[in-house]
Symmetry: C2
Subunit: 799 residues, 2 copies
């Protein structure tokens, strides 16, 4: 429906309408001031070039629409005492959010130097897009924001993440029509299929069609109302239009539409919560068509500007050299009549102050947007209780992620009442063998079900959707509003969210330096179905490069763990769930494989992050001839098998085996807080002995991390060489040179003096590789001697 | 509309229906055979465990629906002599595409060892998902495929890419309902706003709602018809439903629906091409609701399987140990009655052979799907004609990408008639200063226009949409069908398509080894608005990490170029457009900056990929004290400014300046074909002198590339340290230590013996950094001495 303000009795009284309009003008005035002014904030003197910033950086186009919405949301919050946060999708809408949080007083509470007077106005204007100041978009600095307005596409998915398990919260989410063209945003609309009105909050999407991007029209902006309506009804919404460019009728239409949409939300929730159950309702949404750069210059240099893409950034950009632009800027700003809005001291006049909500109801002060401040403790069971028994290293097989599933099940159970923990995954929770969680919860599902369905319910706490973007975005929104979670994903396809990871890491880096931002729970990835075990799915599913993207980020933000078995995975997962303001990446396989460490050993090993494995080494405290190092479950398996071969065939060789769980332990402590100090590192890796390092990912990362280490030049790293196909698990290792035979051959080649005496051993290993290839191509499976290998193959006591 | 086959006269005669059904059975039989059988392909003997593969890998669920569609497309191709390619979105639908290309004969033409007899059947079955064989999804190996079925989400965007400028082509694009949940796919539906019926081909999207993913229902699969209809009408389609599970009525409904939808396409094209103009029509699409695993086991072990997620992969997986499974498999396969379908020799019977189209009309043999075979030469102007005059290095400013724009304009012009070149960009062609192209073409735009619009038309060849996914996917589809293109993007946001880049690189790696795949044009990225010049947009826009993702890929596929000025950019862009089967990444700024090389020098420099800059060096052929190296436009500027400072203040210091355009030149020639040999490298970088290397991206990449070089331990790399904010351009360099002062200080610190004599110089530089910070925070702009610096500041002839 389009709200025609000429129909029916008016929603706003004349006075109220005039007041809201003045409030809006105040916000617009402050927005223009931020973009342009260094000084003379109230234009008490006529505007001079020196009052204006030398570099004009900012985006006016989206701003008046945001200010308009903010003012009207204030009205409804006050009237109904609502708990609302504002998610500002339009990228560079910073001036609007800052202006409004300043008007409502929250900004000055967070930043006391930005006072509510003329001096404060001057500072407010000056700091915007200015060195040492604040960015041009909503960011961690911005009170009330959980959403960076930089890379576009994630507003709506963040909004839903905030609303899950937040029954009292309503997220007003403005989606720009530029942003609406992105893939992640286009998929996000379906988030309403996962929102349960009984125990989740609500999202009110407001699609702001101002029609233009930076240099042209938007797809949705040029569609007719009927096509748009069908699209969003098809997405499962009841659609309300607010269209126009005349402030008076637009205020009336907006107020009326908010009245109706918030009434719809209340009715939906009342019905669901009074026992009608959790059927998926048609949630309301609003389509706001208002001019881009509304109230700004209609034309600049004779070219259409208001209501056109030319107002996207700074409509008048020639201030320093063009007196006409300076005059036009002054006229534009004076048009807002600041003297009606601010008192002599530069403070918002009392009748307008009264329009803002109070205390934590102000959207800039809503504690949900400072998630750490409402974060509740996550109850974790004692991970030792889930330990697999390991009577001797390698003697038992286990499925690491299946064991982890039992631990996560109990995390889920312990926090069921608090409803502050969710697991996300693109359709893979069971495939990734975490299915023990389905003993205590289901997949959340608001669509119809059939009797054969399993583990689907509106109350489920596992979120599965075939979109890594939605999993990541929901989880970010959930964490940013003070909750906890876990994201399991195929390793290759986590690259789909590289850029979202980057942006979240940047958010954390910045927010850690902002005093009032309380720490939020870490974002925890479990990458399973990893490169070495995607033999069956082929080359497209084989990519360990996400770790490299992660390693580019600041050391205080990221952690990368490669637990080699189930007990180490338990320790790591438990540890990660207890950390905050970090991004933890855990890579662990789901296939049955040997278990190396009992729980006590696992704890000791993981605490150090790296360790010498006595049970596999035969250097017995002396200087070894060779270090065999490994990081990752398959590399560990192949390393131990290689050690087994070497100890059988070259029994005099003194081998030290080192396993790395915490990749950052390799790094120089000046580069990463987890880095071993030089003495410890050299004590493990020696300063001059060859190190054959079997690593899960692309080899260069190990070189990069150990670059400053004394023995670096002797590191020979085997890892993924971008060779893949559909084949067997062991053949995946072979074609990349990570298998036991290649590792053992490398050792023979690298230990000085071993050749030529060991030439026959090397030859035997080379022959094994030929035998392997032949067998695999004949039978489509790995040789029994590979599949059935158990550590140690030697008779105990030999070598 | 739903096609009710009981209404109106039948489309298919009884005989034709029976034949199509048998053809479908043959394809289903071959699909099951591929998933299961090693031997006994026609079940001439009763099925034994040893006939069955030891590892069962494959996906049955989506396959019968794909076979159904393929058979019906064959009918319409034959009847109307249509030019159709098949894009198979459902990830693992490999068995279907392989089965059908085998039945139509194209498979055996590409792979003569897979003969059309019993022996060939045995090989066909055996090779599937088998070491040394073929992957389980449509891949470069698959005849007729332009689309890897691995990472989901890109089917529709590839289909549109193929259809642009291909007026005779119709792309039948099957979209799985799993895939439809992804962001890129959700955005891809809007591609129809960019398809011009006059000179583009058509895409017929077929949304295959079989209802389930790997372990649960799909979002769209559980929506009611009305909601689905609205959604896709909202996306701009006329929607046709085909629903059911009874083969007879389904064949009739499918045939009737194809008749109607292809008639719609013809009518749309006829109308548009007869002069009615290029209004956006409502293109038809089909929603096919058919059971997952259709015709497979209804139940397995008492659990619902056909029409449910349990048939997603291998419905009967216990063959080796469970005799009931073996018997059920045999009954299932026998149910297709192979004896009706294949003759004694194992060849498809003649009346079914006759159902396939002939020659290049077969979808497996359509030359458009082997794009290199129809690739037409791209006419490029002489890039020298666009050279900027450089009378002496550094004396002139230029905007590199603006100059490139004039070159691209002429590429566009020279190929206007051939219609085989497009430029993609997420809304940034003008912002990236390539706007000269708008002198000869427009942005393509099928929506309504208003008089004020600029450079929008249905015939435009610049594609702008605020989705990096769509830009990348369209371009991939366009290249894969034999055309050429160029993708310009903000550097930070190209991470959005990391995973698409990965998949395309994998496609190229594999397809280069397939004899019948002809080379396609390279995928060319221009990353501008790069990290050092996103000072105004802030930290979220500052990320040079895409280069690192690219560097992980195979050396024969990727190239990374960092031209320092306009003339080098011209050479590089021209070179990239002439290459094939590669991914070229060009990073170049759009801001005014000094021009270093005249065209002759630029050509010489770029051909080598790396070079000594005599004009900036003062080592004059002797061994220098210091090498100052740089890669990237801003690092080059700062390096030359540092050299200028050092030569002014430490005139006795012998400095060699090296610039790197082609990053791969740094690498060992054993690792990359562009790598300098050791003698050349050591000749440039010395084997023992300090190298201060100013690099565009994260420093570790330079270490990684030079890891095997003799002088590696003396490389001191300055680059992006993940420090960013909204500030000035020079301050971006300062906070990351890449500016002239930090570089000059590093040089003083690293050259043995320079301190303590040069301590006062170092101190002066440190003081400059303090002065800078103070100035920037006061005035919001860089110091005039920085902005106005021109090489060389020294009086010519000094030092």
């Amino acid at each position: 429906m389009t709200n025609d303000p000429t129909q029916g009795p008016p929603t706003l009284g004349q006075d109220e309408l005039a007041q809201i309009d003045r409030y809006w003008r105040a916000a617009n005035y402050l927005s223009v001031g931020q973009i342009y002014l260094l000084d003379n904030p109230l234009l008490r003197e006529s505007l001079k070039v020196s009052d204006v910033k030398p570099r004009l950086l900012g985006h006016w186009g989206t701003t008046p629409g945001l200010n308009f919405l903010y003012a009207h949301l204030n009205r409804i919050i006050r009237r109904d005492d609502l708990n609302i946060i504002f998610v500002c999708g339009p990228g560079h809408g910073g001036p609007a959010v800052v202006a409004n949080t300043y008007l409502e007083g929250s900004y000055s509470e967070f930043y006391p130097e930005i006072t509510q007077d003329e001096d404060g106005l001057r500072r407010l204007f000056r700091q915007f897009s200015f060195p040492g100041g604040i960015p041009s978009h909503a960011s961690p600095d911005t009170p009330g924001s959980i959403h960076e307005g930089g890379e576009l596409g994630y507003a709506l998915v963040h909004a839903y993440g905030a609303a899950f398990d937040n029954p009292d919260l309503i997220v007003a989410c403005v989606v720009g029509d530029g942003e609406a063209e992105t893939g992640p945003l286009a998929a996000s609309w379906h988030s309403n299929k996962f929102l349960n009105p009984v125990h989740d909050g609500a999202v009110l999407p407001i699609l702001h069609l101002n029609g233009y991007k930076i240099a042209g029209p938007t797809i949705l902006g040029r569609l007719g109302d009927e096509e748009i309506r069908k699209l969003f009804e098809g997405y499962g919404h009841e659609v309300f239009f607010v269209e126009g460019d005349q402030p008076g009728p637009m205020h009336e239409a907006m107020a009326r539409t908010f009245d109706e949409t918030f009434a719809r939300i209340r009715a939906i929730q009342d019905r669901a919560r009074s026992g009608a159950g959790a059927e998926r309702p048609l949630w309301p949404m609003i389509i706001l068509r208002s001019p881009k750069g509304w109230t700004g210059p209609k034309e600049v240099d004779g070219l259409k500007t208001e209501g056109f893409w030319r107002s996207h950034q700074v409509p008048l950009s020639g201030i320093a050299t063009n007196p006409a632009h300076l005059a036009q800027l002054e006229a534009w700003m004076k048009g807002y009549r600041a003297e009606d809005l601010f008192d002599d001291k530069g403070r918002l006049v009392p009748d307008l102050q009264a329009l803002a909500p109070q205390g934590p109801r102000r959207m800039g002060a809503n504690p949900n947007a400072n998630g750490g401040s409402v974060r509740r403790y996550l109850h974790c069971p004692d991970f030792r209780d889930f330990a697999v028994a390991v009577t001797s290293p390698g003697a038992h097989e286990g499925e690491a992620t299946r064991v982890l599933g039992t631990y996560l099940r109990d995390v889920m159970r312990l926090n069921a009442e608090a409803r502050n923990f969710r697991i996300m995954g693109p359709d893979e929770t069971a495939s990734n063998r975490l299915d023990a969680v389905f003993e205590v919860t289901d997949r959340v599902w608001m669509e119809p079900t059939i009797p054969e369905d399993v583990h689907l319910s509106p109350d489920g706490r596992v979120m599965e959707v075939l979109s890594e973007h939605l999993c990541q975005g929901w989880l970010e929104g959930y964490l940013l509003t003070g909750r906890h979670g876990f994201f399991s994903c195929y390793e290759a396809f986590i690259h789909i969210v590289d850029s979202m990871f980057n942006q979240h890491a940047k958010w954390l880096k910045v927010s850690r330096k902002i005093g009032w931002r309380q720490p939020i729970a870490s974002l925890n990835y479990l990458l399973t179905s990893h490169v070495w075990r995607q033999d069956h799915n082929g080359f497209s599913h084989q990519d360990p490069g996400f770790i490299d993207v992660v390693a580019n980020k600041k050391a205080d933000i990221v952690r990368i763990y490669l637990p080699p078995d189930a007990n180490t995975l338990l320790w790591v997962a438990d540890h990660c769930l207890r950390t905050y303001d970090r991004i933890n990446v855990i890579v662990a396989g789901k296939q049955p494989s040997p278990q190396w460490l009992d729980m006590d050993s696992a704890i000791k090993h993981c605490r150090a992050g790296i360790g010498l494995w006595d049970f596999a080494s035969n250097d017995e405290g002396s200087e070894p001839d060779l270090v065999m190092a490994c990081a990752g479950d398959v590399p560990t398996l192949e390393t131990l098998a290689a050690v087994d071969l070497l100890r059988t065939h070259c029994p005099a060789l003194k081998i030290r085996v080192i396993n790395v769980v915490d990749l950052m332990a390799l790094q120089d402590p000046r580069q990463h807080p987890h880095g071993l100090d030089a003495r410890e590192f050299d004590g493990l890796f020696t300063t001059d002995k060859p190190v054959i390092f079997a690593y899960h990912g692309y080899p260069h990362l190990i070189h990069r991390l150990t670059y400053r280490r004394a023995n670096h030049d002797n590191f020979h790293v085997h890892g993924f060489m971008e060779e893949g196909t559909t084949t067997t698990p062991f053949d995946m290792a072979v074609i990349n040179g990570l298998d036991r035979f290649h590792l053992a051959i490398a050792a023979i080649d690298r230990v000085p003096g071993l050749l030529p005496a060991a030439a026959h051993v090397k030859q035997a290993f080379q022959h094994k590789l030929i035998e392997h290839e032949d067998y695999v191509r004949r039978y489509g499976d790995d040789m029994p001697e590979i599949k059935n290998w158990v550590w140690p193959s030697r008779t105990p006591g030999t070598a």
